[in-house]
Symmetry: C2
Subunit: 315 residues, 2 copies
């Protein structure tokens, strides 16, 4: 797709991917509502296939290719959830996934891709090496590159989480998501704009990876002043496509400290009894930080994933 | 109710309690199915109100009382999930819950009851002190005692988890649950007997609290040879009512080691992305231990609860 997804695009995307993904539940907790002073509806994408919302966008991007393109294989560079999303999608259409990963990527990430039948191509841990290696695969195999977020098919896929959330939770005053590269936030903002135009879309971002808030204000893709956060899914900068959508349809970005992220993560584990990764806790941390602003409202939050190393918990 | 619950009793129970409890989701995982060599459907009672299936039985017992009985209050002795279940049920009907707890009960358990408006009465940490204190409350307040498991209304309530599981997962060859006092296992066995009589009901029990397997074989209520298990929800012995139902409708009890419980618990956390307490992992540990016996079958497992101290994880 070479345009900002329309409502029809997103609806068709949802139909296309629905048999390949989980319709994840929406959970809530009286104790959390009381503590937060508002009604919070958590969309549990940690319970999604591969343990993250990325399954949606990757699946849509691959399913949207022609049969000929699919047969030549898919490639991407990622050491995170997008790698598994592409491996899953390639497996679903019976083709190969060539996943470029830095040679220092954790075994658990490599195993996740291998389990899904993906082929891992290791490279030096620099962005340049990643891009060169992917380009080589494109040239040699004719594989199609699927960018993890700066891609309208991916954005349309991520939008389907908010589509389901709105259907499951009913009227919402605010919808919140974290922001890394901005694929999920863009999709969420579009879904809200089409289905619930009066709802505000607000993002959470770590103080230790505060690039999106600067880009949001300046209109240019900016880097974070410094990088130091447990929310390792949110280290990426925005792309031109996600920046444009976010500047148009997102109301605000709230930054939160490491302590606020860990406290919010622990609350979700304790009260909702689910495993979420630190990145998932960022928008809830933002809600708790500025809870006066949300008093009495109905808030939807997209919990992005649950891929966390149980041997390295922050509590 | 003064008889073993019939199918109609259980159906009426389900209608009675349904607006007060969560219809919890059933989750599954391709990775777990592949590892186990069968299809496993996990009924997530860790996502139930109060974080445990006990909400079902407690709610039914309290809702089944007359208005006059309800007004005089409810009492029980428990330092576990049943205490919160009774506090929740009392709150639902607008009456008082008098919860007798040993004076060494953890603060987190006391706070759970207080949060729900229950009144805690502390006593010495002996069974005798607990029973004397409860009797005093019955005499003084006219409150009704609700036993945590040896009570047909409670058993009918616990049966509703399996009723939902069968509805959600479809045809099952085996249904598994842990066994402590046997309330859940009794209810599960009755539900299976009425709705899916060809399914086998099999329990898991810790080797370090192996009383039910002895009672199951001898027909008398027996104690465990020794007590040493992380599955602190399964320390209780059976009662006469649960023993009778279990002897009639349960196929088998499988015991598992501490290492097997912890490994199964970790697998659930990692693959299903949910928080379960050690007791919940016991039937899944039993399945993994004897997986040849379950090869290719469709297995339902009731995950009983998610109330675990995140500061004291075994991994």
């Amino acid at each position: 797709m070479n345009h900002i997804p329309t409502f029809d695009d997103i609806r068709e995307t949802h139909e296309r991917i629905s048999i390949y993904i989980n319709k994840t539940p929406v959970l809530s907790s009286d104790a959390i509502n009381e503590l937060a002073g508002c009604y919070v509806f958590f969309k549990c994408e940690n319970l999604q296939k591969i343990g993250a919302f990325k399954a949606r966008g990757g699946m849509n991007a691959v399913l949207s290719l022609s049969k000929e393109e699919q047969q030549k294989g898919i490639t991407t560079h990622s050491s995170g959830n997008h790698a598994q999303a592409i491996a899953l999608a390639a497996k679903a259409v019976g083709t190969k996934a060539y996943i470029v990963m830095p040679n220092n990527a954790p075994e658990i990430k490599k195993n996740g891709v291998k389990y899904l039948g993906g082929e891992i191509i290791e490279c030096e841990p620099t962005l340049e090496a990643r891009e060169t290696t992917v380009q080589k695969i494109i040239d040699e195999k004719g594989a199609t590159f699927v960018h993890p977020f700066n891609n309208y098919d991916v954005i349309a896929g991520q939008a389907t989480a908010a589509i389901e959330l709105i259907e499951q939770a009913g009227e919402l005053n605010v919808i919140m998501a974290p922001v890394g590269g901005g694929g999920l936030l863009s999709g969420t903002a579009l879904a809200a704009h089409y289905l619930m135009p009066n709802a505000e879309v607000i993002a959470g971002e770590p103080e230790g990876a505060a690039d999106a808030i600067r880009s949001f204000k300046s209109g240019k893709i900016e880097k974070a002043p410094y990088i130091k956060t447990i929310a390792d899914g949110l280290l990426t900068n925005l792309g031109d496509k996600t920046l444009e959508i976010i500047r148009t349809y997102v109301k605000d970005i709230i930054t939160v400290s490491e302590e606020e992220i860990i406290a919010a993560m622990r609350l979700v584990w304790e009260q909702l009894k689910i495993v979420i990764e630190p990145s998932s806790a960022v928008p809830f941390a933002a809600l708790l930080k500025e809870n006066q602003r949300f008093a009495g409202k109905r808030i939807g939050i997209i919990l992005t994933g649950g891929n966390v190393d149980l041997g390295k918990l922050p509590f």
